[in-house]
Symmetry: C2
Subunit: 403 residues, 2 copies
């Protein structure tokens, strides 16, 4: 296997969310009858159940009507749009955002992540990554031939913090890590980092001169009784910091592929240079959708949070009634990451079986790190009744495969 | 300068097309009065002068109305769309295209290029690149720390072929080049490779086991008396071949950021894995635009070709009247790449001066390779009268700066 082949072997997509259509038929150990019910795909949110803000369509049509002026923008995105967005972000974050030199519009938050990691991590460098965390993080690092220093999240211990192992974080920082990448709220657990944790990260990164990339994709969807701490707004923050956020999740604008990153101007400049050879820019006609973001109307976010909190609570009840299942309640965002009891099949086979027998798609924990052999991730941004019925079917199947 | 800083220093975007809004004010040696006239931006095509096919808007709205089913497609693009496109491409290319395993929908042809180069060229590998060629090609290679083996195009010699130096090509292939990347029709010269040239490339790549990426972005816009030879349809073709094409240019769909690549399934699979961590997919709601491509109606392409040929001829006349200016006629696509006489200022200053004094934006030749110090590139997909007036102003300015 040559070097390139080896790097690509680390990028498997077959169990990744959204790829189920391509899964090869595999001989599965199917036990018991299939369970009827409406298909639910928990691998991502359902934008039919939670549609984008009504103004989205009009914003796109305005962009299209603008023609040339909107088709070919600067690589970092149209200046007038960046300037408005910078003001919106500054108000939300409680920290200044420079719309001219410190903000880039990207092809989804995935695009922002790719650009940020490639702009900060030398080929074959050292990166610290939380485990579990967003499944693409370790793939991004692996593709750059990086040495990955895993920092565990003890997310089951205390629902008032994420549970980051700060001692381990300091060890790997001291050992020469160049970049620390993490999501807050955490994907897949829905944990929110406490103010103390965020401040500790800022302090340690500053002390050891580690660049930090924080993915705050779900930071507008915070449940009752929880607060969120933005690293960029802390007095002690990393000297090099990129914050990533976008309207694909809570706001359901995923089909437009929009995200953004803001932070240290020298890094945003690199990201623009790289975007120029990667996708040129976020789709020009889609960029006006940024004008809708943060302007959905006063009820949009509160209603969306309340509706998701109800679904979360209903599903938590179902999981917690099952012996041997443990699950942390979601502080923010739309994910649950329950731990299942010992099963007679590997977790990736189990998720294939559940799809086959129950028409329920969930993501196996092993997508988030090889050690998550007993976990599954569900994105519960779904029709509530359909989601409840689907989790009931999933649990029936689970009980058939208990050891 | 560390390794990462060095690689990014090779990716300057300040003189790249579309970036003029960000150009720093620089003290220019402005000679003579400004010339009034409508601003023309020759750095890219004007989609207001040549709008996308009328069905484009409806196709987007249908995608948006489909909601979840179109927002989250496979990373390689929605299967039903890939299958239709594969049939359209096969008919156009005269070669089979596998819509299941051999085709990927990407975020523009730039996205396809980025994925293809990263999927074939190891970090620090060896790549052969034509000079002049699309300005991002050498940046893509430089970002991967590659050794670039330049292969000259003697494009002024004979308008019946592109003028590739085949002897040099064989030398660098024999010396261990892993990938050969070229555009046909050539950007920036508008030259089309002859059948003999394309066949020679196929034969040499096969002999030396070099992977080939051919960017055929402009291959639907072929002028009177010219024919086009697709490498993928030749009997002797490279064992590893990726062909790139998209609807951004002739079809004016650039604002949707769509492109595609087809070819060797093992490489398309790598490209999908990489796209999964780069931008996830081409914007879901934009993907239905691929259904409009190749189905614009029988008159769309012939009319577009005829209209562009008229503009080409008018601009060629203007350039050829000037002493010391040489220019090859465009075989295909919308580019002219005239060589200007000796000027008293560097070419990148000259293009800034022309913008300032004449409201005319052209791309300096040095974007296409450091040796093109006397060339400028114009994309003449513009309003005809505005383009003629703009070139007249450009030539007035040029004459002020003759040595």
């Amino acid at each position: 296997m040559d070097e390139l082949e080896k790097r690509f072997s680390l990028l498997g997509v077959e169990h990744a969310p959204g790829q189920e259509v391509n899964l090869q038929a595999k001989a599965l150990d199917l036990q018991g009858p299939a369970l009827a019910g409406r298909k639910v795909d928990f691998s991502h949110g359902d934008v039919d159940a939670f549609p984008p803000p009504p103004a989205s369509k009009e914003a796109f049509l305005q962009g299209f009507a603008e023609g040339a002026a909107q088709a070919y923008t600067e690589y970092s995105g149209k200046k007038a749009i960046r300037e408005q967005l910078a003001a919106d972000l500054a108000a939300f974050m409680g920290a200044p955002v420079d719309g001219d030199k410190g903000l880039i519009l990207t092809a989804g938050t995935q695009g922002a992540l790719f650009l940020a990691v490639n702009s900060l991590l030398p080929y074959g460098g050292d990166i610290a990554i939380v485990t579990p965390d967003y499944f693409a993080n370790h793939k991004l690092a692996a593709f750059l031939g990086a040495t990955i220093h895993a920092v565990p999240l003890q997310y089951m211990d205390d629902e008032n913090r994420a549970g980051l192992d700060l001692q381990r974080l300091e060890e790997v920082f001291a050992a020469g890590v160049q970049v620390f990448l993490f999501s807050n709220p955490n994907n897949p657990t829905g944990a929110v980092y406490s103010a103390a944790e965020v401040q500790a990260i800022g302090k340690l990164a500053k002390k050891y001169k580690v660049a930090v990339i924080v993915d705050e994709l779900y930071s507008r969807q915070i449940y009752e009784g929880r607060t969120f701490t933005h690293l960029c707004a802390q007095a002690e923050r990393p000297d090099t910091l990129v914050t990533i956020i976008g309207p694909s999740k809570t706001e359901s604008m995923s089909g437009f592929r929009l995200g953004c990153a803001f932070g240290t101007p020298a890094i945003i400049e690199r990201m623009e240079k790289l975007q120029a050879i990667m996708t040129l820019r976020a789709a020009g006609y889609c960029q006006p959708l940024f004008r809708v973001w943060f302007h959905e109307g006063p009820d949009f976010i509160p209603q969306r949070v309340a509706a998701h909190q109800e679904i979360r609570d209903a599903l938590l009840d179902l999981f917690r009634k099952e012996e041997g299942v443990t699950v942390r309640s979601t502080n923010a965002g739309s994910y649950l990451f329950p731990t299942l009891p010992e099963l007679t099949v590997p977790i990736a086979d189990f998720t294939s079986i559940v799809k086959e027998l129950a028409q329920v798609i969930v993501t196996p924990g092993t997508e988030f790190g090889p050690e998550w052999t007993h976990s599954i991730r569900l994105n519960f941004s779904q029709d509530k009744e359909a989601a409840i019925a689907a989790v009931k079917r999933l649990l029936v199947i689970m009980n058939r495969y208990r050891k």
